[in-house]
Symmetry: C2
Subunit: 345 residues, 2 copies
DNA sequence: CTGAAAGCGCTTACAG
DNA sequence: CTGAAAGCGCTTACAG
């Protein structure tokens, strides 16, 4: 910066002004400074600026490890790109596998003086205190572990209803739901329901409204993945095995993640059964569904909008001292692929 | 820091000394300062330290977008964790999809004064100049686009030889290679060969040595993925279609990525063919191979070692002014799963 | 419209 | 062993 100032024959203050409020600098001088910036290739030191203004233009992102579910790769990528579009750089920490405690990630982000922290399925209430103490705003994505904090949510109901409607229109009567057990995921919550409860409730009401079988034995509940071993299709395989062992098995299965659907396909492949011939399968997340054989019909979310909104809320919280926490809800929707067809009659 | 100093009745300089060279502070004082640090929960501001010491403890990582190939999620995760273990925070930029030019990422990393930049399949020779000018060392992973720069490489030959040996032991004679076309990937190189050439050469020599058919028509070459559309199994589907159309099709296929293998399984599934009944399939990367149906035999790399070595080299380059660029090479290896069996006779 | 000066929170060479 | 002082590279309130 000193070089630029010297070259242009002005003070460093004027260089800064050309950078941030050029209209306040007389034209002749401004042009001289701009020429000097060009000539030297000068770009302000982000670290120094961060120290001076106590805005680092960094946001922290704490999100589930993408190796456990590639959906989180898509989400974190979308958030990172939305952040870049607004001039922010993302500092990402993965949560879920490895022994990388969320508390440590929070500490790191505080030390790095990030302007805001975005959590996706990773916020534990006890992590809020240090962030609040450091005056760092928080946005929750698809999670409401804390009241009074911005939250960007996804409503599973539209996608699940579309999935059940798709299956009943094909002629399916016995449709199984494979998903997270609400009892196993007693997540902290502020709205009285967890995601697992919401998805299960959406399934139940869609099945009831659309005339498919309402049979509790068709609700196959468990975990999405085991944290150890990085064998993310294991849970789906185990749950599909339970379905194959049923007295009155379903003809279609709605799984609560694409990873579960992958496990389903593996068990059916090993058992010599075909999809959609013997079973129709629908996934959730629209992550690896298009890579499976056959490509799997799946419920997806509007990722770009979620990411954009998340950033808008974070920026509002950063820049507006009077910002009131908001809650935004997006709809899920169904993408039909080759894993669903009419049942054998 | 001022608070701590006041509370302990010492100067800020002494607080800093307790933090960085405690043995130089008299015991009584040191304990007083440590107590004050405890009491206030003080942690040094990383931004200020970065400005003062011109070491930010950040490393930049520019790597292929994990949505194009999940292997890069595994690799970047491994590097990020290795960095954390050494006290570094990673600033990650994805390369390949979206319009996120590498040059911009490089600029961002320079502005952020990262201590080093790690490239995986993303280094273009023209990006080196600004980094060199900013005195930021570079490590190349699985890529040697530039001479005189640290490089951590993977030798495809051991894994490919193991794959072919596995197939010939099962009785396969006609084995196809599906991979990147060396002509399509005229990557910058310093060692005379590109990765595509190395893999193809490894295939050819393994096939020759192990007595399988050496038939140029069994080399099905193309691209790993299309950058547009985020349909990463598309290329594999197209190449598999070419194999199905052959007069003398192979009985086994070695694909150069798990994404290609996914496309293979999709085409065979749609054609009513079975794996490994009709075709044995081997993938590469050991990324989603364990999620496919059937789980796919795949060639993998020692990720933890690669990540650790990458960081060791980066740190050496950061801390040691006399550091001489090094080249480290790791072996690939085969993980056998359910997609390979004896051919139909 | 412009510059001199202060200060963000640290670290470290220097003097004692 | 310890403190006062300088300085990393910026931004901005203040005075003119």
């Amino acid at each position: 910066m000193g070089d630029v100032a010297r070259l242009a024959g002005v003070s460093p203050a004027t260089v800064a002004r050309v950078l941030y409020e050029p209209e306040k600098v007389a034209l002749a001088r401004r042009q001289k400074v701009q020429a000097a910036i060009e000539a030297t290739g000068y770009r302000p030191n982000v670290v120094a600026r961060g120290l001076r203004t106590s805005r680092t233009w960094k946001i922290g992102l704490i999100i589930v490890d993408g190796r456990l579910n590639p959906y989180f790769v898509n989400l974190s990528q979308a958030i990172r790109l939305a952040a870049m579009a607004e001039g922010y750089t993302a500092l990402t920490f993965q949560y879920g596998s490895a022994n990388e405690p969320v508390a440590d990630a929070v500490q790191q982000l505080i030390l790095n003086r990030v302007d805001a922290v975005i959590f996706s399925y990773a916020l534990r209430p006890e992590d809020i205190a240090p962030l609040t103490a450091a005056n760092i705003p928080v946005v929750q994505v698809e999670q409401e572990a804390i009241a009074g904090t911005d939250a960007v949510m996804c409503d599973p109901a539209p996608g699940i209803r579309a999935a059940i409607a798709h299956l009943t229109a094909l002629g399916h009567q016995r449709i199984a739901f494979m998903g997270g057990d609400p009892a196993a995921y007693a997540r902290p919550r502020v709205h009285g329901t967890t995601m697992e409860e919401e998805r299960l409730a959406a399934f139940r009401s869609a099945v009831r409204d659309l005339g498919a079988d309402s049979d509790p034995s068709l609700e196959v509940l468990g975990r999405y993945f085991t944290l150890s071993g990085l064998d993310p299709s294991k849970e789906g395989r185990a749950m599909m095995q339970r379905i194959l062992d049923m007295d009155q098995p379903p003809t279609a299965i709605l799984a609560s993640s694409d990873m579960l659907a992958a496990g389903i396909l593996q068990v059916l492949n090993a058992a010599g059964k075909s999809v959609p011939g013997d079973f129709s399968v629908i996934g959730y997340d629209d992550s690896i569904s298009s890579l499976l054989a056959p490509p799997v019909t799946s419920i997806g979310r509007p990722l770009q909008q979620i990411a954009k909104t998340t950033l808008d809320l974070a920026i509002a919280a950063i820049t507006d001292a009077d910002h009131r926490p908001m809650r935004r809800v997006f709809d899920t929707s169904l993408t039909v692929r080759a894993s669903t067809a009419a049942p054998k009659s």
